[in-house]
């Protein structure tokens, strides 16, 4: 699996939708590619910031 293929699968990897074999291939690539690992870490950080900025809204019936 090359960088382009891994980048294309990041969304599915982050949402844990890849089957075990594909996820394993992605992990193997990440273990040997600092650039893709850094890319994934940045995406995960952005996701964490987005989640942290949007708590559930209080609800009231009007």
């Amino acid at each position: 699996m090359n960088c382009a293929e891994v980048l294309e699968l990041f969304s599915l990897y982050l949402s844990r939708e890849l089957d075990a074999a594909r996820a394993s291939e992605v992990r193997a690539h990440l273990a040997s590619c600092p650039a893709c690992l850094s890319e994934l870490e940045h995406q995960a950080e952005v996701d964490a910031r987005v989640r942290g900025s949007l708590p559930e809204s209080p609800w009231r019936w009007r």
Partner: protein, 151 residues
């Protein structure tokens, strides 16, 4: 009523103000109540409710000008804005509606790409490319310094 708080969280970022968001959620719950016989037992109720809400949102958008999100300073405490919340919300606001929607549904609400494809009635590949572009855009808009500070 189950799921109203998470529906409202997304509605608030799709619509232009809190009142409109609450209207959208109330409309969603009413439509769900009326159409509950169409819900297939054993399937994902939350995804079904979000699908109803997105359809209602699109129907509203077609009737008027597309809405933009207005981030009110009253939404969150402003004292120092320690988590950089305003910056994140502004970055989300700046996304095109299609990208904003997948960020809200996927990243915030935790729906999978397949579930989003179902909710939005688009192919899974479309969801993935929207999500990828949205994440890239958010990365570009959020300062690295701020991201590092959060981590």
């Amino acid at each position: 009523m189950p799921h109203t708080r998470t529906l409202l969280r997304v509605a608030r970022r799709l619509t232009s103000n809190p009142a409109e968001a609450e209207d959208l959620v109330q409309e969603t719950m009413l439509l769900a109540w009326r159409g509950f016989h169409q819900f297939r037992e054993g399937t994902n109720l939350r995804a079904w409710l979000f699908r109803i809400m997105m359809n209602a949102f699109y129907a509203r958008s077609r009737k008027r000008h597309p809405t933009t999100v207005s981030i009110s300073t009253n939404d969150f405490p402003s004292e120092g804005d320690l988590g950089g919340v305003t910056e994140v919300l502004a970055a989300i606001e700046g996304l095109p509606a299609e990208q904003r929607t997948v960020i809200l549904l996927g990243v915030v609400e935790g729906f999978t790409c397949l579930e989003m494809a179902e909710i939005l009635s688009v192919p899974p590949g479309t969801v993935m490319s929207r999500l990828s572009r949205a994440r890239q855009a958010l990365r570009d808009r959020l300062s690295p310094k701020c991201i590092a500070k959060e981590a």
